[in-house]
């Protein structure tokens, strides 16, 4: 026990050390920009008095992060909102599209998993639709749905439905036939069989599918929002890119990573619970 504890401690120490060395190297690698003080008019108009756009040092990113995080919910008009509001918009879109996908994918996955005929009939369609890049749907969605907000949600929906559908189908079809037969000898109806026997047995696989899906949904939202704009963390990145402000871009990339990790860890916890239940 003590050895694992010290292992963990050593690993944590090592992590911190790697981070410190990386940040230090990064900081040192960025040359300090010499801002001219005595300038001709030409030099001033060439931007001699202010920093050129470039890769910022980590300290600059930290300053930007502090600025943004200390006031995350300001609202300065439709195109300039705090980072907290932007993340909330993105999460709202992701959870709406993802929720709708789950409502359709899980029952449908059950159906496909329980009926080999349905599986074989639907499989070609799924295999064709699954590898389509989510953003390829965007122009079509904008054209048909005629609403950019709903189109962004649709893109989340269409990209997160497949892993849930396939994993559910796989999990359901993989339930041991003995258990289903036992249920049949107890004269359980097919709905009760599905809920009391198959669902618990297939649950870990279903959760795995849901976990993959939420990861994809979060990957896609940033690109979708860069395209349709308006609000959200993807729009924020694009707006700062407009201004070639890389400190903000790096800060938002880190924030996207952290949020994605938190979403993933929710499912990791769920997965662990369900696996232990068996």
């Amino acid at each position: 026990m003590t050895s694992t504890w010290s292992d963990n401690r050593r690993a944590a120490l090592l992590s911190v050390l790697i981070l410190a060395v990386a940040l230090l190297a990064w900081e040192m690698a960025i040359p300090a920009q010499q801002l001219a003080t005595e300038m001709t008019e030409y030099e001033r108009l060439m931007g001699g008095g202010s920093a050129r756009a470039g890769i910022p040092a980590p300290s600059e990113v930290a300053v930007k992060a502090w600025e943004q995080l200390s006031n995350p919910f300001y609202d300065a008009g439709p195109n300039d909102k705090g980072i907290g509001i932007q993340i909330a918009y993105s999460l709202g879109r992701v959870l709406t599209g993802y929720g709708m996908a789950a409502i359709i994918a899980i029952p449908l996955g059950f159906l496909i998993g329980m009926s080999p005929v349905a599986y074989k009939a639907l499989n070609p369609f799924i295999q064709v639709l699954r590898p389509i890049s989510p953003l390829a749907w965007m122009p079509l969605a904008l054209f048909i749905i005629q609403d950019s907000e709903a189109s962004a949600i649709f893109v989340i929906f269409i990209c997160s439905i497949w892993p849930m559908l396939l994993n559910t189908a796989f999990g359901v079809s993989g339930v041991r036939q003995d258990w289903v037969n036992v249920a049949r000898t107890h004269e359980l109806g097919s709905l009760r069989t599905a809920l009391t026997v198959i669902l618990p047995a297939a649950a870990p696989t279903i959760i795995t599918g849901m976990r993959i899906s939420i990861g994809i949904a979060w990957l896609v939202i940033v690109a979708a929002e860069m395209l349709v704009g308006g609000t959200g963390i993807g729009y924020y990145v694009w707006n700062e890119w407009n201004n070639l402000d890389l400190a903000s871009v790096i800060f938002s990339i880190l924030l996207i990573g952290v949020t994605g990790m938190l979403l993933d860890s929710v499912f990791a916890v769920l997965q662990r619970r369900l696996t232990y239940a068996e």
Partner: protein, 456 residues
């Protein structure tokens, strides 16, 4: 008082000899609906007077003619010979209550959108009783799609876009109107610092250029410029559609050798030390149109009062922006993150015309970008000739018909005069582009005068 002559003159059903509330059998069978507002009545009276005079005030022959041909055909045919829009602008002289006060207007974050953007922080919309949200849009294709879908009530567009959208080139066809130009001039050709020695376009063979959109003045001006120097824009150079914010980064990365793009990205390339200003587009065509204020045609017909108020706000802001002494104040108003999200000195250089060109000179060009709302229909005809020249549209083009349907010069004139500004009396004029005169009366002749082109 009997109200005569206010029935629809294009309908075979109405009898213009009978007034409203006439009790004869014919009138009771098809009750006349009177125009709803006094303004609509005046419009109706103008139309009616013209139509009746054509038939020598014989209502029987008018009705049989309309019945035979259909009133819509007649209205269209009449509009093509008589400048009906001169007599009857869609925008009303005096406005009734606004049908809608909360509006969403899209813009792409470039200095061409200055009047549309500044009207928000500087109070031009609220002056006309409107509560407008100006929404930043990632690119022209999205601005087009959000306008087509009705998410935007009106939008900042490139001057060729409403023409293309009305004809259905590159999108579904939906009638759009463009009652005001936003800016004239205001673009530049920027080359990467690697090409400091290539000041002659004849040396540009094999280079890659960026333009912000296919249906843009940027694309047409760049093609025109290189073609005048003997290069075929489809064979000798590569033209890529690149969103404006990506232009500077692509120039730095060497993906682009140059671009003809909207400001502030020309100036931003100089500011970042990556490129230099090869040429201002005003040196190609002094006073060329660039961006525009456009809306779906139904916006003007369904909400005439709101449309009138919005157009007044836009033209008022455009006129304010055209005064050089206001430009510094405007630069400060539109630079923040909510609007252009750019350093103030960059915007200032663009708007005031005192700028570093990246070649070691400080240049003074006060009308580097200027603001003039009048949508010359001859400019629309020129754009259509170039769309045909490069194969974006094919076949017989009704140049004047489309230009007049989309570029609502009469509306702009009404509002400009209403606000006390001078407006041109004509809708067409000749333009001088790189020393060559364009006569809007002969678009096909102009088109066939070029050695390089696709669709002649």
């Amino acid at each position: 008082m009997t109200i005569r002559a206010l029935g629809d003159p294009f309908s075979a059903q109405t009898d213009l000899r009978h007034g409203a509330g006439c009790a004869c059998t014919g009138c009771r069978a098809t009750p006349q609906s009177l125009p709803a507002s006094p303004e609509a009545m005046i419009e109706r009276a103008v139309e009616s007077a013209i139509v009746r005079s054509m038939f020598g005030h014989s209502d029987v022959s008018r009705r049989s003619f309309m019945g035979m041909l259909g009133g819509g055909t007649m209205a269209a045919a009449l509009a093509s010979v008589l400048p009906l829009d001169q007599a009857k602008a869609a925008v009303l002289e005096s406005l009734g209550p606004l049908e809608k006060t909360d509006l969403a207007i899209g813009f792409v974050p470039i200095t061409c959108a200055t009047p549309i953007i500044m009207a928000e922080p500087m109070g031009f919309y609220s002056r006309y009783g409107l509560n407008v949200s100006v929404i930043k849009t990632a690119g022209w294709a999205v601005a087009r799609d959000k306008s087509l879908s009705g998410e935007y009530d009106a939008s900042h567009m490139l001057t060729p876009m409403p023409l293309a959208m009305t004809m259905g080139a590159g999108s579904t066809a939906q009638p759009f109107i463009m009652p005001a130009v936003e800016n004239i001039n205001g673009q530049a050709i920027v080359l990467s610092n690697e090409h400091l020695d290539k000041r002659d376009p004849a040396q540009w063979k094999g280079l890659t250029f960026g333009v912000p959109f296919e249906y843009s003045m940027h694309n047409f001006l760049l093609r025109y410029y290189v073609a005048e120097h003997g290069l075929d824009p489809d064979q000798d150079i590569q033209i890529r559609v690149v969103p404006p914010p990506d232009m500077v980064a692509n120039l730095r990365a060497g993906n682009l050798d140059g671009f003809l793009s909207p400001d502030p990205f020309n100036q931003r390339a100089v500011w970042e030390g990556i490129g230099f200003i090869h040429l201002l587009t005003k040196e190609l065509w002094e006073g060329h149109p660039c961006c525009a204020f456009a809306a779906p045609a139904r916006f003007a017909t369904e909400m005439p009062n709101t449309y009138g108020a919005l157009l007044r706000a836009i033209i008022d802001a455009t006129q304010y922006a055209s005064d050089p002494s206001n430009r510094t104040e405007i630069a400060a108003a539109i630079a923040p993150a909510n609007y252009l999200n750019q350093p103030v000195p960059v915007i200032e250089q663009v708007l005031t015309g005192t700028f570093a060109d990246g070649l070691g000179e400080v240049r003074q060009v006060p009308d580097r970008i200027d603001f003039d709302p009048f949508p010359w229909q001859s400019m629309g005809v020129w754009i259509l000739t170039q769309m045909k020249r490069w194969g974006y549209i094919e076949g017989d083009v009704d140049y004047r018909g489309i230009a007049e349907q989309v570029y609502l010069a009469a509306d702009a004139r009404t509002v400009m005069q209403d606000l006390g500004y001078e407006a041109p009396a004509e809708n067409y004029r000749t333009h001088d582009i790189m020393g060559k005169t364009f006569d809007p009366a002969d678009p096909e002749g102009y088109l066939s005068s070029f050695a390089i082109g696709r669709g002649a």
